[in-house]
Protein backbone atom coordinates (compact mmCIF):
# COMPACT_ATOMS: atom_id res chain seq x y z
CA UNK A 1 0.00 0.00 0.00
CA UNK A 2 1.32 3.43 -0.90
CA UNK A 3 2.13 5.74 1.99
CA UNK A 4 -0.13 8.69 2.56
CA UNK A 5 1.40 11.81 4.09
CA UNK A 6 1.46 13.24 6.65
CA UNK A 7 1.67 10.18 8.88
CA UNK A 8 0.03 10.61 12.27
CA UNK A 9 2.04 9.01 15.06
CA UNK A 10 0.95 11.27 17.91
CA UNK A 11 -2.00 9.21 19.08
CA UNK A 12 -1.51 9.94 22.77
CA UNK A 13 -2.43 13.55 22.09
CA UNK A 14 -5.60 12.54 20.30
CA UNK A 15 -6.90 9.86 17.95
CA UNK A 16 -8.89 10.11 14.74
CA UNK A 17 -12.55 9.19 15.19
CA UNK A 18 -13.36 5.74 13.90
CA UNK A 19 -15.71 6.09 10.89
CA UNK A 20 -18.13 3.70 12.63
CA UNK A 21 -18.27 6.15 15.53
CA UNK A 22 -19.08 9.07 13.27
CA UNK A 23 -21.76 7.01 11.59
CA UNK A 24 -23.41 6.28 14.93
CA UNK A 25 -23.35 9.96 15.88
CA UNK A 26 -24.85 11.51 12.76
CA UNK A 27 -28.55 10.74 13.38
CA UNK A 28 -28.28 12.41 16.79
CA UNK A 29 -27.42 15.74 15.18
CA UNK A 30 -30.39 15.74 12.85
CA UNK A 31 -33.49 13.58 13.32
CA UNK A 32 -32.75 12.40 16.89
CA UNK A 33 -31.77 15.84 18.17
CA UNK A 34 -33.87 15.82 21.34
CA UNK A 35 -32.83 16.95 24.81
CA UNK A 36 -32.07 13.86 26.87
CA UNK A 37 -33.87 15.41 29.86
CA UNK A 38 -37.13 16.07 27.99
CA UNK A 39 -39.40 13.60 29.74
CA UNK A 40 -42.63 14.12 27.89
CA UNK A 41 -42.06 13.49 24.21
CA UNK A 42 -40.46 11.03 21.89
CA UNK A 43 -37.58 13.34 20.96
CA UNK A 44 -36.44 13.31 24.56
CA UNK A 45 -36.98 9.59 24.98
CA UNK A 46 -34.97 8.84 21.86
CA UNK A 47 -32.07 11.02 23.02
CA UNK A 48 -32.21 9.50 26.48
CA UNK A 49 -32.14 6.01 25.01
CA UNK A 50 -29.00 6.93 23.07
CA UNK A 51 -27.34 8.22 26.23
CA UNK A 52 -28.40 5.17 28.23
CA UNK A 53 -26.95 2.83 25.66
CA UNK A 54 -23.67 4.76 25.65
CA UNK A 55 -23.56 4.59 29.44
CA UNK A 56 -23.92 0.82 29.23
CA UNK A 57 -21.24 0.53 26.57
CA UNK A 58 -18.88 2.58 28.66
CA UNK A 59 -19.72 0.73 31.88
CA UNK A 60 -18.86 -2.52 30.15
CA UNK A 61 -15.40 -1.41 29.04
CA UNK A 62 -14.39 -0.32 32.54
CA UNK A 63 -16.16 -3.16 34.32
CA UNK A 64 -18.60 -0.94 36.20
CA UNK A 65 -21.45 -2.79 37.93
CA UNK A 66 -24.02 -0.12 37.19
CA UNK A 67 -24.11 2.27 34.21
CA UNK A 68 -25.51 4.90 36.60
CA UNK A 69 -22.05 5.15 38.10
CA UNK A 70 -20.90 7.07 35.02
CA UNK A 71 -21.15 10.85 34.83
CA UNK A 72 -20.61 12.47 31.44
CA UNK A 73 -18.34 15.51 31.31
CA UNK A 74 -16.63 17.59 28.65
CA UNK A 75 -13.46 15.49 28.70
CA UNK A 76 -10.56 14.17 30.74
CA UNK A 77 -9.59 17.51 32.23
CA UNK A 78 -13.07 18.15 33.56
CA UNK A 79 -13.37 14.60 34.90
CA UNK A 80 -10.11 14.96 36.79
CA UNK A 81 -11.16 18.36 38.16
CA UNK A 82 -14.53 17.00 39.21
CA UNK A 83 -13.01 13.95 40.88
CA UNK A 84 -10.29 15.65 42.88
CA UNK A 85 -12.03 18.94 43.71
CA UNK A 86 -15.31 17.10 44.24
CA UNK A 87 -13.77 14.81 46.86
CA UNK A 88 -11.76 17.61 48.45
CA UNK A 89 -14.88 19.65 49.02
CA UNK A 90 -17.16 16.78 50.01
CA UNK A 91 -14.78 15.23 52.53
CA UNK A 92 -13.26 18.42 53.93
CA UNK A 93 -14.53 17.59 57.40
CA UNK A 94 -12.74 14.25 57.28
CA UNK A 95 -9.34 15.48 56.20
CA UNK A 96 -7.36 17.80 53.96
CA UNK A 97 -4.63 15.57 52.56
CA UNK A 98 -4.28 14.12 49.07
CA UNK A 99 -1.65 11.68 47.84
CA UNK A 100 -0.72 11.76 44.15
CA UNK A 101 2.41 11.33 42.01
CA UNK A 102 4.87 13.63 40.28
CA UNK A 103 4.09 12.25 36.80
CA UNK A 104 0.35 12.92 36.70
CA UNK A 105 -0.89 14.93 33.77
CA UNK A 106 -1.14 18.69 34.07
CA UNK A 107 -4.81 18.75 35.00
CA UNK A 108 -4.16 16.68 38.13
CA UNK A 109 -1.05 18.61 39.11
CA UNK A 110 -2.73 21.97 38.59
CA UNK A 111 -5.77 20.95 40.61
CA UNK A 112 -3.36 19.88 43.35
CA UNK A 113 -1.66 23.27 43.29
CA UNK A 114 -4.97 25.11 43.50
CA UNK A 115 -6.09 22.98 46.43
CA UNK A 116 -2.79 23.65 48.20
CA UNK A 117 -3.48 27.38 47.91
CA UNK A 118 -6.86 26.70 49.50
CA UNK A 119 -5.32 25.03 52.52
CA UNK A 120 -5.20 21.40 51.45
CA UNK A 121 -2.01 19.41 51.63
CA UNK A 122 -0.87 17.40 48.65
CA UNK A 123 1.96 14.88 48.63
CA UNK A 124 3.50 14.24 45.21
CA UNK A 125 5.07 10.80 45.43
CA UNK A 126 8.18 10.30 43.25
CA UNK A 127 8.52 7.46 40.75
CA UNK A 128 11.28 5.01 39.93
CA UNK A 129 13.46 5.50 36.83
CA UNK A 130 11.10 3.18 34.92
CA UNK A 131 8.14 5.36 35.83
CA UNK A 132 6.54 2.98 38.33
CA UNK A 133 5.26 4.30 41.63
CA UNK A 134 6.28 2.17 44.58
CA UNK A 135 3.43 1.03 46.74
CA UNK A 136 5.46 1.65 49.89
CA UNK A 137 6.02 5.25 48.81
CA UNK A 138 2.27 5.77 48.62
CA UNK A 139 1.79 3.95 51.91
CA UNK A 140 4.36 6.17 53.62
CA UNK A 141 2.73 9.30 52.30
CA UNK A 142 -0.66 8.44 53.81
CA UNK A 143 -1.62 10.28 57.00
CA UNK A 144 -4.75 10.20 59.15
CA UNK A 145 -5.89 13.24 57.21
CA UNK A 146 -5.65 11.58 53.77
CA UNK A 147 -8.99 11.64 51.95
CA UNK A 148 -7.88 10.74 48.43
CA UNK A 149 -5.21 8.79 46.57
CA UNK A 150 -5.01 9.80 42.91
CA UNK A 151 -2.67 7.90 40.59
CA UNK A 152 -2.76 7.81 36.80
CA UNK A 153 -3.38 4.42 35.21
CA UNK A 154 -0.89 4.79 32.36
CA UNK A 155 1.39 7.70 31.64
CA UNK A 156 0.74 9.93 28.65
CA UNK A 157 4.41 10.40 27.78
CA UNK A 158 6.25 7.19 28.58
CA UNK A 159 3.27 4.84 28.74
CA UNK A 160 4.24 3.20 32.03
CA UNK A 161 1.30 1.27 33.49
CA UNK A 162 0.96 1.45 37.28
CA UNK A 163 -0.01 -1.45 39.50
CA UNK A 164 -3.49 -0.02 39.92
CA UNK A 165 -4.96 -3.12 41.59
CA UNK A 166 -2.31 -2.99 44.33
CA UNK A 167 -2.94 0.70 44.94
CA UNK A 168 -6.68 -0.02 44.97
CA UNK A 169 -6.19 -2.67 47.67
CA UNK A 170 -4.05 -0.34 49.74
CA UNK A 171 -6.67 2.41 49.49
CA UNK A 172 -9.40 0.01 50.51
CA UNK A 173 -7.37 -1.24 53.49
CA UNK A 174 -6.90 2.31 54.67
CA UNK A 175 -10.45 3.37 53.92
CA UNK A 176 -9.27 6.06 51.51
CA UNK A 177 -10.98 6.92 48.23
CA UNK A 178 -8.97 6.03 45.13
CA UNK A 179 -9.11 7.98 41.86
CA UNK A 180 -7.28 7.01 38.71
CA UNK A 181 -6.79 9.14 35.61
CA UNK A 182 -7.27 6.44 33.00
CA UNK A 183 -7.51 8.71 29.97
CA UNK A 184 -4.64 6.90 28.24
CA UNK A 185 -5.67 3.40 29.30
CA UNK A 186 -9.41 2.95 28.77
CA UNK A 187 -10.09 1.19 25.49
CA UNK A 188 -6.44 0.25 25.06
CA UNK A 189 -5.71 -2.16 27.90
CA UNK A 190 -7.98 -4.04 30.32
CA UNK A 191 -9.45 -1.75 32.98
CA UNK A 192 -11.82 -3.03 35.64
CA UNK A 193 -13.03 -0.78 38.42
CA UNK A 194 -14.34 -3.77 40.42
CA UNK A 195 -11.33 -6.07 40.40
CA UNK A 196 -8.89 -3.13 40.65
CA UNK A 197 -10.61 -1.39 43.54
CA UNK A 198 -11.10 1.90 41.72
CA UNK A 199 -13.56 4.36 43.29
CA UNK A 200 -13.28 7.16 40.74
CA UNK A 201 -12.01 6.91 37.17
CA UNK A 202 -11.50 9.66 34.59
CA UNK A 203 -11.55 8.97 30.88
CA UNK A 204 -12.13 10.75 27.60
CA UNK A 205 -13.58 9.84 24.21
CA UNK A 206 -11.04 11.41 21.87
CA UNK A 207 -8.23 9.10 22.97
CA UNK A 208 -10.22 5.99 22.08
CA UNK A 209 -11.27 6.92 18.55
CA UNK A 210 -14.29 8.89 19.71
CA UNK A 211 -15.13 12.57 19.36
CA UNK A 212 -13.46 15.47 21.17
CA UNK A 213 -15.50 17.32 23.76
CA UNK A 214 -16.84 14.45 25.84
CA UNK A 215 -15.45 12.48 28.75
CA UNK A 216 -16.71 10.59 31.74
CA UNK A 217 -16.11 10.17 35.42
CA UNK A 218 -16.91 6.85 37.04
CA UNK A 219 -18.16 7.39 40.59
CA UNK A 220 -18.58 4.25 42.70
CA UNK A 221 -22.03 3.81 44.22
CA UNK A 222 -21.49 0.74 46.38
CA UNK A 223 -18.70 -0.40 48.67
CA UNK A 224 -18.06 2.46 49.39
CA UNK A 225 -20.65 4.89 48.14
CA UNK A 226 -18.54 7.81 46.94
CA UNK A 227 -19.97 11.30 46.97
CA UNK A 228 -18.57 14.31 45.17
CA UNK A 229 -19.45 17.98 45.19
CA UNK A 230 -20.30 19.25 41.68
CA UNK A 231 -18.21 21.85 39.86
CA UNK A 232 -21.17 23.03 37.80
CA UNK A 233 -24.58 23.74 39.28
CA UNK A 234 -27.74 23.87 37.24
CA UNK A 235 -30.51 21.55 36.17
CA UNK A 236 -29.27 18.63 38.25
CA UNK A 237 -28.34 16.43 35.31
CA UNK A 238 -26.12 13.42 35.85
CA UNK A 239 -27.57 12.84 39.31
CA UNK A 240 -26.63 16.33 40.36
CA UNK A 241 -22.93 15.79 39.82
CA UNK A 242 -22.68 17.57 36.48
CA UNK A 243 -25.42 19.90 35.35
CA UNK A 244 -25.76 20.95 31.74
CA UNK A 245 -27.53 19.68 28.64
CA UNK A 246 -25.97 16.41 27.63
CA UNK A 247 -24.14 16.51 24.27
CA UNK A 248 -26.08 13.50 23.02
CA UNK A 249 -24.26 12.98 19.67
CA UNK A 250 -20.88 13.10 21.41
CA UNK A 251 -22.03 10.72 24.14
CA UNK A 252 -23.43 8.29 21.56
CA UNK A 253 -20.08 8.43 19.74
CA UNK A 254 -18.20 7.88 23.00
CA UNK A 255 -20.29 4.79 23.73
CA UNK A 256 -19.83 3.35 20.26
CA UNK A 257 -16.09 4.05 20.40
CA UNK A 258 -15.84 2.21 23.73
CA UNK A 259 -17.83 -0.69 22.35
CA UNK A 260 -15.52 -1.06 19.34
CA UNK A 261 -12.45 -0.85 21.59
CA UNK A 262 -13.88 -3.65 23.71
CA UNK A 263 -14.31 -5.83 20.64
CA UNK A 264 -10.86 -5.27 19.16
CA UNK A 265 -8.68 -4.54 22.20
CA UNK A 266 -6.78 -7.82 22.47
CA UNK A 267 -6.03 -8.07 18.78
CA UNK A 268 -5.32 -4.37 18.31
CA UNK A 269 -3.06 -4.21 21.36
CA UNK A 270 -1.03 -7.17 20.11
CA UNK A 271 -0.74 -5.72 16.61
CA UNK A 272 0.36 -2.30 17.86
CA UNK A 273 2.82 -3.79 20.36
CA UNK A 274 4.43 -5.73 17.51
CA UNK A 275 4.69 -2.63 15.32
CA UNK A 276 5.97 -0.58 18.27
CA UNK A 277 8.61 -3.21 19.04
CA UNK A 278 9.69 -3.17 15.40
CA UNK A 279 10.06 0.62 15.50
CA UNK A 280 11.96 0.42 18.76
CA UNK A 281 14.35 -2.28 17.52
CA UNK A 282 14.95 -0.42 14.29
CA UNK A 283 15.86 2.80 16.06
CA UNK A 284 17.83 1.39 18.97
CA UNK A 285 19.88 -0.90 16.76
CA UNK A 286 20.80 1.89 14.34
CA UNK A 287 21.38 4.85 16.63
CA UNK A 288 23.98 4.84 19.40
CA UNK A 289 23.18 6.54 22.69
CA UNK A 290 19.45 6.39 22.18
CA UNK A 291 17.62 5.53 25.39
CA UNK A 292 14.19 4.06 25.96
CA UNK A 293 12.18 6.09 28.47
CA UNK A 294 9.75 4.35 30.79
CA UNK A 295 9.27 0.71 31.69
CA UNK A 296 10.36 -1.74 28.97
CA UNK A 297 7.45 -4.13 29.63
CA UNK A 298 4.80 -2.49 31.76
CA UNK A 299 3.78 0.10 29.21
CA UNK A 300 1.01 0.86 26.77
CA UNK A 301 1.30 -1.26 23.62
CA UNK A 302 1.12 1.77 21.33
CA UNK A 303 3.69 3.92 23.14
CA UNK A 304 7.38 4.42 22.40
CA UNK A 305 9.45 7.17 23.99
CA UNK A 306 13.13 7.52 23.18
CA UNK A 307 15.74 10.12 24.11
CA UNK A 308 18.39 10.75 21.48
CA UNK A 309 21.41 12.10 23.34
CA UNK A 310 23.10 15.18 21.84
CA UNK A 311 20.19 16.24 19.62
CA UNK A 312 17.35 18.48 20.67
CA UNK A 313 13.81 17.14 20.29
CA UNK A 314 12.23 20.00 18.43
CA UNK A 315 14.94 19.88 15.78
CA UNK A 316 14.16 16.19 15.27
CA UNK A 317 10.46 16.96 14.88
CA UNK A 318 11.27 19.74 12.45
CA UNK A 319 13.19 17.32 10.28
CA UNK A 320 10.15 15.06 10.13
CA UNK A 321 7.16 17.33 10.39
CA UNK A 322 6.43 17.58 6.69
CA UNK A 323 5.69 13.90 6.64
CA UNK A 324 5.18 12.71 10.21
CA UNK A 325 3.44 14.07 13.31
CA UNK A 326 5.24 13.17 16.54
CA UNK A 327 5.76 14.91 19.85
CA UNK A 328 8.73 15.75 22.04
CA UNK A 329 9.50 16.51 25.67
CA UNK A 330 11.68 19.37 24.52
CA UNK A 331 11.07 22.76 26.15
CA UNK A 332 10.71 24.27 22.70
CA UNK A 333 7.58 22.25 22.07
CA UNK A 334 5.90 22.99 25.40
CA UNK A 335 3.85 26.00 26.31
CA UNK A 336 5.74 26.34 29.61
CA UNK A 337 9.19 26.46 27.96
CA UNK A 338 10.32 23.78 30.39
CA UNK A 339 11.46 20.34 29.29
CA UNK A 340 9.23 17.37 30.11
CA UNK A 341 8.71 17.04 33.86
CA UNK A 342 7.79 13.40 33.31
CA UNK A 343 11.13 12.47 31.77
CA UNK A 344 12.78 14.64 34.42
CA UNK A 345 10.94 12.77 37.18
CA UNK A 346 12.40 9.49 35.91
CA UNK A 347 15.79 10.83 36.92
CA UNK A 348 17.00 11.60 33.40
CA UNK A 349 19.10 14.71 32.91
CA UNK A 350 17.40 17.82 31.58
CA UNK A 351 19.42 17.36 28.41
CA UNK A 352 17.82 13.96 27.81
CA UNK A 353 14.39 15.41 28.53
CA UNK A 354 15.00 17.98 25.78
CA UNK A 355 16.00 15.10 23.53
CA UNK A 356 12.96 12.88 24.01
CA UNK A 357 10.63 11.90 21.19
CA UNK A 358 7.28 10.17 21.67
CA UNK A 359 5.94 7.90 18.96
CA UNK A 360 2.36 6.82 19.56
CA UNK A 361 0.67 4.40 17.23
CA UNK A 362 -3.04 3.89 16.68
CA UNK A 363 -5.73 1.74 15.08
CA UNK A 364 -4.92 2.96 11.57
CA UNK A 365 -1.11 2.80 11.78
CA UNK A 366 0.35 0.52 9.11
CA UNK A 367 3.54 -1.48 8.94
CA UNK A 368 4.71 0.65 6.01
CA UNK A 369 4.27 3.79 8.10
CA UNK A 370 6.32 2.32 10.91
CA UNK A 371 9.11 1.35 8.52
CA UNK A 372 9.11 4.80 6.99
CA UNK A 373 9.05 6.71 10.27
CA UNK A 374 11.77 4.51 11.72
CA UNK A 375 14.07 4.98 8.73
CA UNK A 376 13.49 8.73 8.53
CA UNK A 377 13.99 9.23 12.27
CA UNK A 378 17.34 7.48 12.07
CA UNK A 379 18.35 9.68 9.13
CA UNK A 380 17.32 12.91 10.82
CA UNK A 381 18.99 12.06 14.12
CA UNK A 382 22.23 11.19 12.31
CA UNK A 383 22.13 14.41 10.33
CA UNK A 384 21.57 16.46 13.48
CA UNK A 385 24.33 14.64 15.32
CA UNK A 386 26.71 15.60 12.52
CA UNK A 387 25.99 19.19 13.41
CA UNK A 388 25.86 18.74 17.18
CA UNK A 389 28.78 20.22 19.14
CA UNK A 390 27.88 17.92 22.04
CA UNK A 391 28.14 14.79 19.92
CA UNK A 392 31.51 16.01 18.62
CA UNK A 393 32.79 16.63 22.15
CA UNK A 394 31.50 13.28 23.36
CA UNK A 395 33.17 11.50 20.44
CA UNK A 396 36.44 13.28 21.31
CA UNK A 397 36.11 11.72 24.75
CA UNK A 398 35.28 14.96 26.55
CA UNK A 399 33.04 14.49 29.57
CA UNK A 400 30.28 17.02 28.99
CA UNK A 401 29.80 17.39 32.73
CA UNK A 402 33.41 18.60 33.06
CA UNK A 403 32.65 21.68 30.94
CA UNK A 404 31.57 24.80 32.77
CA UNK A 405 28.58 25.77 30.66
CA UNK A 406 27.53 29.36 30.57
CA UNK A 407 23.77 29.48 30.43
CA UNK A 408 22.43 32.56 28.67
Amino acid sequence: MALKFPIFMDAQSTTPADPRVVEAMIPYFTEKFGHAASRNHSFGWEAEAGVDRAREQLARIIGARDPKELVFTSGGTESINLAIKGIAEMYREKGNHIVTTVIEQRASLDVGKRLERQGYEVTYVPVRPDGLVELEAIQKAITDKTILISVMFANNEVGTIQDIAAIGRLAKDKGIIFHTDATQAVGKIPVNVETMGIDLLSCTAHLLYGPKGVGALYVRRKGPRVRIAPLIDGGGHERGMRSGTLPVPLIVGFGRAAEICGEVMAEEGARLAKLRDRLQDMILSNVDEAFLNGHPERRLPHNLNISFAYVEGESVLMGLNKETALSSGSACTSSTLEPSYVIGALGASAELAHSSIRFSLHRFTTEEEVEHVGARTIEVVKRLRDMSPLYELAKEGVDLKSIRWKAE
Binding site: L337, D386, L390, Y391
Partner: protein
Protein backbone atom coordinates in the same frame (compact mmCIF):
# COMPACT_ATOMS: atom_id res chain seq x y z
CA UNK B 1 3.92 26.58 15.26
CA UNK B 2 4.87 27.44 11.73
CA UNK B 3 8.45 28.31 10.87
CA UNK B 4 9.46 31.11 8.53
CA UNK B 5 10.75 30.07 5.13
CA UNK B 6 14.23 31.28 5.98
CA UNK B 7 14.39 29.22 9.17
CA UNK B 8 13.29 26.15 7.22
CA UNK B 9 15.87 26.85 4.53
CA UNK B 10 18.73 27.17 7.02
CA UNK B 11 17.53 24.08 8.87
CA UNK B 12 17.33 22.01 5.68
CA UNK B 13 20.49 23.44 4.13
CA UNK B 14 22.65 24.65 7.00
CA UNK B 15 25.60 26.74 5.80
CA UNK B 16 29.08 26.11 7.07
CA UNK B 17 28.54 23.17 9.38
CA UNK B 18 31.82 21.88 10.73
CA UNK B 19 34.84 22.59 12.86
CA UNK B 20 38.31 24.09 12.61
CA UNK B 21 41.16 22.80 14.70
CA UNK B 22 41.05 25.11 17.69
CA UNK B 23 44.74 25.94 17.92
CA UNK B 24 45.21 26.86 14.24
CA UNK B 25 46.51 30.45 14.11
CA UNK B 26 43.71 32.88 13.32
CA UNK B 27 40.95 30.60 14.60
CA UNK B 28 38.64 31.86 17.32
CA UNK B 29 36.14 29.54 19.00
CA UNK B 30 33.00 30.38 20.93
CA UNK B 31 31.04 27.72 22.82
CA UNK B 32 27.90 29.07 24.48
CA UNK B 33 24.67 27.79 26.00
CA UNK B 34 24.15 24.75 28.17
CA UNK B 35 22.91 21.24 27.43
CA UNK B 36 20.33 21.35 30.25
CA UNK B 37 18.82 24.48 28.68
CA UNK B 38 18.45 22.67 25.37
CA UNK B 39 20.77 24.97 23.38
CA UNK B 40 24.52 24.80 22.80
CA UNK B 41 26.27 26.63 19.95
CA UNK B 42 29.84 26.28 18.84
CA UNK B 43 30.84 29.02 16.43
CA UNK B 44 34.30 29.38 14.94
CA UNK B 45 35.93 32.06 12.81
CA UNK B 46 39.12 31.86 10.80
CA UNK B 47 40.75 35.26 10.46
CA UNK B 48 43.35 36.19 7.85
CA UNK B 49 46.15 37.38 10.09
CA UNK B 50 47.44 39.87 7.50
CA UNK B 51 44.16 41.57 6.64
CA UNK B 52 42.10 40.99 9.79
CA UNK B 53 39.23 39.74 7.62
CA UNK B 54 37.20 36.69 8.60
CA UNK B 55 37.86 34.29 5.73
CA UNK B 56 35.79 31.41 6.91
CA UNK B 57 33.34 30.54 9.66
CA UNK B 58 31.86 27.27 10.89
CA UNK B 59 29.26 26.18 13.41
CA UNK B 60 27.78 23.24 15.18
CA UNK B 61 24.56 23.61 17.16
CA UNK B 62 22.57 21.49 19.57
CA UNK B 63 19.16 23.11 19.70
CA UNK B 64 15.87 23.72 18.02
CA UNK B 65 15.44 24.63 14.35
CA UNK B 66 15.60 28.34 15.12
CA UNK B 67 18.86 27.92 17.03
CA UNK B 68 20.35 26.01 14.09
CA UNK B 69 19.12 28.68 11.67
CA UNK B 70 20.44 31.55 13.82
CA UNK B 71 23.93 30.08 13.99
CA UNK B 72 23.93 29.11 10.32
CA UNK B 73 22.97 32.67 9.37
CA UNK B 74 25.63 34.07 11.71
CA UNK B 75 28.38 32.13 9.90
CA UNK B 76 27.14 33.47 6.56
CA UNK B 77 27.24 37.03 7.81
CA UNK B 78 30.65 36.67 9.44
CA UNK B 79 32.45 35.68 6.28
CA UNK B 80 34.12 38.63 4.62
CA UNK B 81 33.71 40.95 7.60
CA UNK B 82 36.60 42.36 9.59
CA UNK B 83 36.76 41.47 13.24
CA UNK B 84 35.53 44.96 14.14
CA UNK B 85 32.62 44.78 11.71
CA UNK B 86 31.68 41.36 13.00
CA UNK B 87 31.39 42.64 16.54
CA UNK B 88 28.55 44.89 15.38
CA UNK B 89 26.20 42.04 14.45
CA UNK B 90 23.21 42.25 16.77
CA UNK B 91 20.71 39.60 17.75
CA UNK B 92 17.92 41.85 16.50
CA UNK B 93 19.40 41.66 12.99
CA UNK B 94 19.06 37.88 13.19
CA UNK B 95 15.50 38.14 14.53
CA UNK B 96 14.51 40.39 11.63
CA UNK B 97 16.20 38.33 8.96
CA UNK B 98 14.77 35.02 10.14
CA UNK B 99 11.44 36.48 11.32
CA UNK B 100 11.81 34.73 14.65
CA UNK B 101 8.74 34.74 16.91
CA UNK B 102 9.11 36.13 20.47
CA UNK B 103 9.62 32.67 22.03
CA UNK B 104 12.62 32.12 19.78
CA UNK B 105 14.42 35.40 20.44
CA UNK B 106 16.73 33.64 22.89
CA UNK B 107 18.12 31.67 19.92
CA UNK B 108 19.29 34.91 18.32
CA UNK B 109 20.72 36.12 21.63
CA UNK B 110 22.69 32.91 21.89
CA UNK B 111 23.99 33.37 18.34
CA UNK B 112 25.17 36.90 19.19
CA UNK B 113 26.83 35.52 22.32
CA UNK B 114 28.53 32.87 20.20
CA UNK B 115 29.86 35.50 17.80
CA UNK B 116 31.18 37.58 20.69
CA UNK B 117 32.76 34.56 22.34
CA UNK B 118 34.49 33.54 19.10
CA UNK B 119 35.78 37.08 18.55
CA UNK B 120 37.01 37.35 22.14
CA UNK B 121 38.77 34.01 21.85
CA UNK B 122 40.39 35.10 18.60
CA UNK B 123 41.56 38.42 20.08
CA UNK B 124 42.95 36.78 23.18
CA UNK B 125 44.87 34.17 21.21
CA UNK B 126 45.98 36.63 18.54
CA UNK B 127 47.41 39.02 21.10
CA UNK B 128 49.15 36.15 22.81
CA UNK B 129 50.53 34.89 19.48
CA UNK B 130 51.70 38.37 18.55
CA UNK B 131 53.43 38.79 21.87
CA UNK B 132 55.05 35.39 21.59
CA UNK B 133 56.43 36.18 18.13
CA UNK B 134 57.75 39.55 19.22
Amino acid sequence: MAYSEKVVDHYNNPRNVGSFTKDTPGVGTGLVGAPECGDVMKLQIKVNLDTGVIEDAKFKTFGCGSAIASSSLATEWLKGKTVDEASKIKNTDIVNELKLPPVKIHCSVLAEDAIKAALADYREKHVADAEASR
